[in-house]
Amino acid sequence: MTADPPATDPPLVTELLLLPDGRILVQNLTPVMAAVLLQLNPGEEAIRRRVAGPQNPPKTP
């Protein structure tokens, strides 16, 4: 089933909490922000698995 996407999309929202020890906690992580966080920290496995992986192949727009 295919639907026409609505004309305007609301702004995306992600919340980050930066901890003094360098950890970053994330709420409402969007794919775009996940990609940004992975670029900032390519070694972060938890984010990498949320950007792309066997269960989550990269999406085409």
Partner: protein, 281 residues
Amino acid sequence: MIAPATTRPARASVNAALARAMLAQCRFCAHDCAANRLAGPAGRCHAGADTRFFCAQVEVTDELELIPTYAIAFSGCDLRCAFCITGAESWNAGTGESLDAADICARATAALDRGARTVMILGGEPTVHLHAALDLVSRLPSNARLVWKTNAHGSRQARDLLDGMFDVWLADYKFGNDTCAQALARIPGYTSVARENLRWAAGHGELIVRHLLMPGHLECCWRPVAEWLAAELPGVKTNLRDGFWPAWQSRRQAELRGTVPPAESKSAFALARQLGLNLIP
């Protein structure tokens, strides 16, 4: 003679109408207020018949097997968790935007077409807006994988209406005892209600249990939760989350003013492994 509704959207449409009528004496959650929500905001959740939402977007925060998900978060909740990450929206059903079911379902369907694997309905607590949630189900593609993200504080009446409507129940088991539940979320009799919901969900589809590890609550909350899951729901998918963040009114509780110490997190995961829990990322 009226033909029985056989498809999920058709059954959801019927159940949505029933749920809306039941708002006249709302018993959707275990608070059992019997408030007339058709007359306006009422009951412990302070919600009326109108449904508002504060977030609807594709997210990748949740369990790997569910993401990307199109997450629709309703305003309002029947619990009052001091540490709620969305406290302002969850404690106030009047926040956010008015729900346009046709529009939000068009967005969700478009997201599915672009690669989202699931549609997740959450809150706040979606049980508060059962009539609206079922209306969404009636409008979404019948083959969409739907996730019901809940605090597991719903009533039998709510469960009856939800039976067969969602593919996955993503249910919180927040507190390991009634004392912590009352102190941190103002919920009387929490344990028996949560367990009743979890048992039911395990027998009516796919269940994923979530526990948010709270600082200082390893022994009083996580241990009893983990031991119960191991004994009563062996093999159930469990997501132990250690990313507690001291949001909203966490400062009311001294132990909730910080994050989970790494040593506590390590002990929590060790306990899960020791008990043989089926942890999923």
